[in-house]
Symmetry: C2
Subunit: 421 residues, 2 copies
């Protein structure tokens, strides 16, 4: 008897009808002899609507209130799913993050799980129930509701799951986003390491913290479509069944912004002061580049999520006066494109090949950063598709088949249309 954690994204529970489909799927897993725990996101666009309500009232709503507001989205979908399971003749109970025993730090909007007291979930499982847990939330030591940072919906660890099925509106992990690179291919399997890099480089299929958890607790992730029964992509320990490609995929991320602090005095400890100030103001800095010093002054450039921009500006302003820099410049029209693959470690020349491909496609590189298994470049936002396609082709990832629009869900097609692509 396997213990399966099945996670459902917002589009999979967007309507009562879809919730009923999810319930049927869960009941089928249970009737096949498994223990099943469901974890749900808020229905469809609920979170956006709640954010809209808050913004209509406050430009900068207190995070404690914002967390509580957003947590209601998952609390609605979890109760509806539990009801739908009961209609099918199986027992179910819904659990908020608090009731599921998810204790977190008190950093509202990006809380970290500290402990999982999964007693109630285990009791419910032992009683033959299908527990339904609200994703993305927990409770801090003050008894206040928190929402978790990216990929935070993880009770998987606390209950010792064998498999974590993640249902969304895409049918697996692709070598690139097929909406951007139509020749992208679906991967049958990928290693935790490569998936982690792809996720943190902007691939939206799986969230990096979810992958981290899975790797830590050796839980296999199966990323698959909520709207079909076909197999998706397995994320697991690297093994011989996986393709021997140097590069697993190309990821892109348009959600970051670039900030340059100009004319920074080039003395010891300055960088430490800048990035301590940013960290203290809860800014998740991604890439950092410092130019060569001229006349004892230099520029420091960094990128961070657009969501952290206000905090970043606040911290930067304060630190500029303190260190005697000139000013700062924000560029929001950027995109990060990353080439990811464990094979890079043993295969020199990846950077050269990437830069050549981008140059041939007339893509201008603004920033570069590397890790042993990833190469990232920042380009202008309007060059992102060009860059992804050029790299996808250069590293031999192109499929013979061109990705068909009909594989997209109704929502995606609409979103695509609205973007005018």
């Amino acid at each position: 008897m396997a213990l399966i954690v099945a996670k459902f994204g917002g589009t999979s529970v967007a309507s009562p009808e879809r919730i009923q489909m999810v319930a049927k799927r869960l009941v089928a897993m249970k009737e096949a002899g498994n223990q099943v725990v469901a974890v749900v996101s808020a229905m469809g666009k609920t979170t956006d609507e709640l954010v809209g309500l808050a913004r209509a009232i406050s430009k900068n709503p207190p995070k404690r209130e914002m967390d509580r507001l957003l947590s209601t989205g998952e609390q609605v979908s979890m109760t509806l799913l539990a009801m739908a399971i009961e209609v099918l003749g199986h027992r179910s109970m819904s659990f908020s993050g608090r009731q599921a025993g998810i204790q977190t730090s008190d950093e509202h909007s990006k809380a970290k799980i500290e402990l999982v007291h999964a007693d109630r979930i285990k009791q419910a499982l032992d009683a033959g129930c299908i527990p339904v847990v609200a994703g993305f939330q927990g409770i801090d030591k003050n008894g206040d509701i928190t929402t978790l940072g990216r990929g935070g919906s993880d009770t998987t660890a606390g209950i010792g799951a064998d498999v974590c099925e993640i249902y969304s509106d895409v049918d697996g992990v692709y070598t690139a986003d097929p909406r951007v690179a139509p020749r992208a291919r679906k991967l049958d399997a990928i290693s935790y390491e490569d998936m982690l890099e792809l996720s943190s480089a902007g691939s939206g299929v799986l969230q990096s913290r979810a992958v981290e958890f899975a790797r830590k607790y050796k839980v296999v992730i199966h990323s698959r479509s909520a709207f079909s029964d076909s197999e998706g992509t397995y994320v697991k320990e690297a093994d011989s069944s996986m393709e021997n490609a140097v590069i697993s995929g190309i990821a892109h991320d348009t959600s970051e912004v670039k900030i340059t602090i100009r004319d920074v005095p080039d003395s010891t400890g300055i960088a430490a002061r800048v990035f301590s100030a940013l960290a203290n103001n809860s800014v998740n800095v991604d890439m950092i580049i410092q130019n060569i010093s001229e006349d004892g002054r230099t520029d420091i450039t960094f990128t961070c999520p657009e969501a952290d921009l206000e905090n970043a500006k606040e911290a930067t302003k304060a630190v500029i006066d303190a260190i005697g820099a000139r000013n700062y410049v924000v560029d929001t029209n950027i995109a990060k494109v990353s080439v990811v693959g464990t094979g890079m470690k043993s295969s020199p020349g990846v950077s050269a090949k990437a830069f050549t491909a981008l140059a041939d496609a007339n893509v201008n590189i603004l920033l570069i950063s590397t890790s042993p298994i990833r190469l990232s470049v920042v380009v202008a936002a309007d060059q992102v598709e060009l860059a992804v396609r050029a790299l996808h082709t250069a590293f031999g990832l192109d499929s013979d088949k061109v990705f068909e629009e009909t594989m997209l869900s109704a929502e995606e097609l609409e979103a695509k249309k609205n973007k005018g692509r």
Copy 2:
């Protein structure tokens, strides 16, 4: 420095704009030197929408899930109100029923408050905050969210409030519902006793449990409009300032149903068995009438809220077999009309006057029940307006002025139009 509890109904917080109005009002109270605790309902039609979602999935949703689902409505409005207060430069914090320390019984959908641990609310007040509490909810000993029965939104008791201001879309307590009896008058003040009877007889302005709490803890209630600054109606200990009318008002209630159990063997303990079965199935029985016995068999008729009908039918079916009665008949097209007034105790002839007025108006009386300060009759639903107006006139309550539609809120006018009145 007074401690004011200010409660806001769903229409007062129906939109971000209205929530901002409420925030201004609370800040004004605070700046006038008071301590203020706000208690909010769900925004506008949110509760109905949530019920609609649940019904789309299940005809008979589990009550634990339903409570959790509905509790999110107030959790949304409370966070938005706290945000709006902070925008005005005052500190605020929202508290769910659990966080406000409201411990209840575990009867989902009609839980009763057992204890109020108002420590966090008091701490927030001491810190100069305006706490905002979610109405109608608490937590049971299992850690599950409960919703309270009618009038349950009461933290007033736990924090020792001086005044409880109840804001809604009506501007006070009237001698009858002005939409039914256009000559109804607004009362300046009314005693707890009369208000309690009016509320439990169907007057929707204040909920009877809220009035009970206020009486028990000697808190003055001020029922007033959320959309104007004019004085409403004070509910307090009877005193000489109140009008000396025999009758305070006429209430009506169209939310009850009538069930008759036919051919019940007329032996000792039968009624006890019937009504124990109903109570055990959580049916709130209101009126009970037993006819004169014929041939050792009799009929038992009772009324209960329409919301309890399914439970009532279930319990009735089971008990009919057990006691050997014939069958039961349900009538949902009924209305209860009540004449209320402490003055009745010392003024004989009220019943005679009421029955005469109804007979003159050709209203057929189906059931009668009385208390020392209330006389209730059940009539056919389509005679309810006729009955209310006839009694209002007969007891000298008519105002010279006819109630104008423009006093109704936009929502009420629309509701009226939809009903085709």
